[in-house]
């Protein structure tokens, strides 16, 4: 019985079935259960999907979605530059690391949302404020993971570079950054999740456009199908960005996954 099941799972049909099976079942259940919903908050899936199409595929795409994503991109990019730059500097010097580490641990332990009122003081209202909020949260995982990655460069590899006189910028590029890249990517992944969170909440309780702003607006004006459609949108965005990241990871770290696979085999 089990063998037959495994053989079925091995076929293409089986594989597609596994991937789509449970989601399809869940969505179907959701559709059926919510179909005749009279509940004020939990509306039918059909209503939500209709609201989705009407809300997000119209003018709001340009007015709300794009600005939000653009701010996320700016904040994330800036965090990468700052985090990797500072991370390489700090990771390369044991003394500097020892001096700076407690301060960094304190700063990074502050939950980014707690900084929002403070950043509001400095950066006023508007895009700058929101991008700064994103940076304030995203930079830490990148920076700390970069420091860790730079610190852990293999000794033998470092000696090899020294003996072949690979120095300066070449060493940074060929040895340090590439050696640290798996660790940096871990940080970048965490930063992406935090960035999405901050993108949304930096727009709450404000008057400027954005996804978070729109969803909150729907909530306060009791337009619940639209509100849920916003939640759905955020879910879709989260998944899409996560997939994009996966693709980038496969490109940049293809060698690393291959290496780990061989190590696992020989274990």
């Amino acid at each position: 019985m089990r063998l037959a099941g495994m053989r079925l799972a091995g076929t293409v049909l089986g594989r597609v079935g596994l991937v789509l099976g449970l989601p399809a079942v869940l969505v179907t259940i959701w559709w059926i259960v919510s179909a005749d919903s009279e509940h004020f908050l939990f509306r039918s899936l059909r209503d939500i999907l209709v609201a989705f199409r009407e809300t997000w595929l119209g003018p709001r795409l340009v007015e709300d979605v794009l600005p939000s994503l653009s701010r996320l991109a700016q904040g994330y990019a800036a965090s990468l530059v700052l985090g990797i730059g500072a991370g390489v500097l700090i990771g390369s010097s044991r003394t500097l690391r020892a001096v700076v580490e407690p301060v960094l641990e304190l700063l990074r332990a502050i939950p980014p949302p707690a900084l929002i009122p403070l950043i509001g003081l400095f950066a006023g209202i508007g895009d700058t404020r929101r991008v700064v909020i994103i940076i304030a949260g995203c930079v830490w995982p990148i920076l700390l993971n970069t420091v860790e990655g730079v610190r852990a460069v293999d000794e033998v590899l470092a000696d090899t570079c020294r003996s072949y006189r690979v120095r300066g910028l070449g060493r940074l590029r060929h040895l340090v950054l590439r050696s640290a890249s798996p660790q940096i990517m871990t940080g970048a992944r965490q930063a992406l999740a935090i960035g999405i969170i901050l993108m949304v909440i930096s727009e709450l309780q404000r008057t400027d456009r954005g996804i978070g702003f729109a969803v909150e607006q729907f909530q306060t004006s009791f337009r619940y199908p639209e509100m849920w459609s916003g939640v759905l949108l955020l879910g879709v965005l989260g998944v899409a960005l996560s997939l994009l990241f996966r693709l980038a990871d496969r490109q940049i770290l293809g060698w690393y996954h291959g290496l780990r696979a061989t190590q696992k085999e020989s274990r």
């Binding site: 000794e155 033998v156 090899t160 690979v166 060493r171 060929h174 590439r178 890249s181 290496l259």
Partner: protein
């Protein structure tokens, strides 16, 4: 050409002073192949790292190609024991071999040529597109050797390069390194703990004492220049040299000198004492 004069190295950490090397003086002339053996912990690797400019010495001086060493000197290449960790896992084999040349600023066409020649010399022309971790241990060490070859050094240092490889592969690599040495005409200093290997490979074997290290003996290996795994290793002179060095190292370690077994292969009147 490699010159070591009065080398002295003391490790100073946590208030403990360890004199690894007391005094080493020797010269390896241009294009010669010298092996270094010694008991465990006798500072063979320390010696190599001082010569390679990776470790500052406490006293004495090293000259490579007539220039005093104060950091990794140009024209010198090192092959480490841990091949897995000395190759860049994110670069393919060819890029690994080319990397030092790239850092030195050579144009691409020239790099390609040197890399291709080097890979051919070690018998890995077909593997140029692979990643190092896709290759076996022996092949990875060949890549490391190819990288050194492509660099066209005047002096080649090898730190127990075949210790982590299985016996059959080691035999192949030993023959390979002799071939490479002949072709390139480099000055080769080969550190090993394997006495058989040292006698098989070297034109000369430097035997080190236990720490604090000095040179115990500096032997010329008067075996024929054409070495062969079967023929050379069964040559009686090979056995003599090997036994002699072994005895030296045993006394270094403070162990009692070995008792020579009666030589059953020889005629009775040639029984060894």
């Amino acid at each position: 050409m490699l010159e070591v004069q009065g080398l002295h190295k003391v490790y100073d950490s946590h208030g403990r002073r360890v004199e690894a090397i007391r005094e080493l003086t020797f010269t390896v002339p241009d294009g010669r192949f010298a092996c270094v053996v010694g008991p465990s912990g006798c500072g063979k690797t320390t010696l190599l790292r001082c010569i390679a400019g990776l470790l500052p010495q406490t006293g004495g001086q090293v000259w490579v190609e007539g220039n005093p060493v104060s950091g990794p000197p140009p024209g010198l290449a090192v092959v480490f024991q841990e091949y897995g960790r000395s190759l860049f896992p994110w670069l393919r084999v060819r890029d690994n071999v080319e990397l030092p040349l790239r850092a030195a600023g050579l144009p691409r066409a020239r790099r390609r040529q040197l890399a291709a020649d080097a890979l051919a010399a070690v018998g890995l022309s077909d593997a140029y597109r692979a990643y190092p971790w896709q290759l076996s241990g022996g092949m990875q060490q060949r890549v490391a050797i190819a990288r050194a070859v492509a660099y066209q050094p005047r002096v080649l240092l090898m730190d127990e390069p075949f210790a982590a490889v299985d016996a059959q592969t080691r035999a192949d690599l030993e023959d390979l390194i002799r071939t490479v040495w002949r072709r390139l005409g480099v000055t080769l200093l080969f550190v090993t703990h394997d006495i058989d290997e040292a006698v098989y490979l070297g034109e000369r074997v430097i035997v080190l004492s236990a720490a604090p290290t000095r040179i115990k003996e500096d032997l010329e290996i008067d075996l024929p220049a054409e070495r062969d795994q079967l023929i050379t290793r069964s040559d009686p002179r090979f056995t003599e040299l090997r036994a002699h060095i072994y005895a030296q190292i045993q006394t270094s370690r403070g162990a009692p000198p070995p008792v020579h077994p009666p030589d059953r292969t020889a005629a009775p009147q040639e029984e060894m004492s």
